[in-house]
Symmetry: C2
């Protein structure tokens, strides 16, 4: 949440900012609740109240996680009536990332299925 990085000045600053941006991105995935949210959003748009039901968390908690993911640039909301429809910004690329993590976890020992619908390592090429 308290992590931002979106300028670029010195040639080394660029790398450092890249690291903080990457750290922020990975932080978005470093929580089971947020991971579940991403998985649900990968299946399509969802409202906050919908996610609260799926996750069994308080509405405020879900909103905060969504705000966190929004800070990372992973999701965005579209006002729909009095609700907010949340969706992944770059689904295919996100799934690529999850697939890569899946492969790594497979090597680490745990057999994991992160991507909801799509299998382990398919769906390459489209970035959005």
């Amino acid at each position: 949440m308290a992590m931002k990085a979106t300028d670029a000045a010195a040639p080394d600053r660029e790398v450092a900012d890249g690291l903080t941006a990457a750290a922020c991105l990975f932080h978005g995935f470093s929580d089971t609740s947020r991971l579940s949210i991403v998985r649900h959003l990968a299946l399509g748009e969802h409202r906050v109240v919908d996610l609260t039901a799926h996750l069994g968390l308080a509405q405020s908690t879900v909103s905060q996680h969504l705000a966190c993911l929004k800070d990372c640039g992973l999701v965005s909301s579209r006002p729909e009536g009095r609700a907010s429809m949340w969706s992944l910004n770059h689904p295919a690329t996100v799934m690529d990332l999850l697939a890569a993590a899946e492969r790594l976890l497979a090597l680490t020992g745990d057999a994991v299925t992160l991507c909801p619908t799509y299998g382990a390592g398919s769906l390459h090429g489209g970035t959005s």
Copy 2:
């Protein structure tokens, strides 16, 4: 650090454990210091004192980060004299993950170069 997941019982438990394992993995990358460590280790084996010099952090801090990465199964140490040589466990797969993150960050707006030597998206196939 306080996250582990290496069993598998019920069919749904499997998914939950997968999420915690994945969260743990991403947590390993969710810190600029650890990210720097991974980048340095991607270039080859390094000792702790070497990394402290590169990072400008205390030795205890670096050791703790390495322990964290070890918990995630990302790195491992090889005793070399009185020192410890640390190295990435699955360099190619890790770089794949970083490359995927790079692509995602590129879409998000930040131009980032995570992978030290290798460019953005090469080096496929070898998993160890």
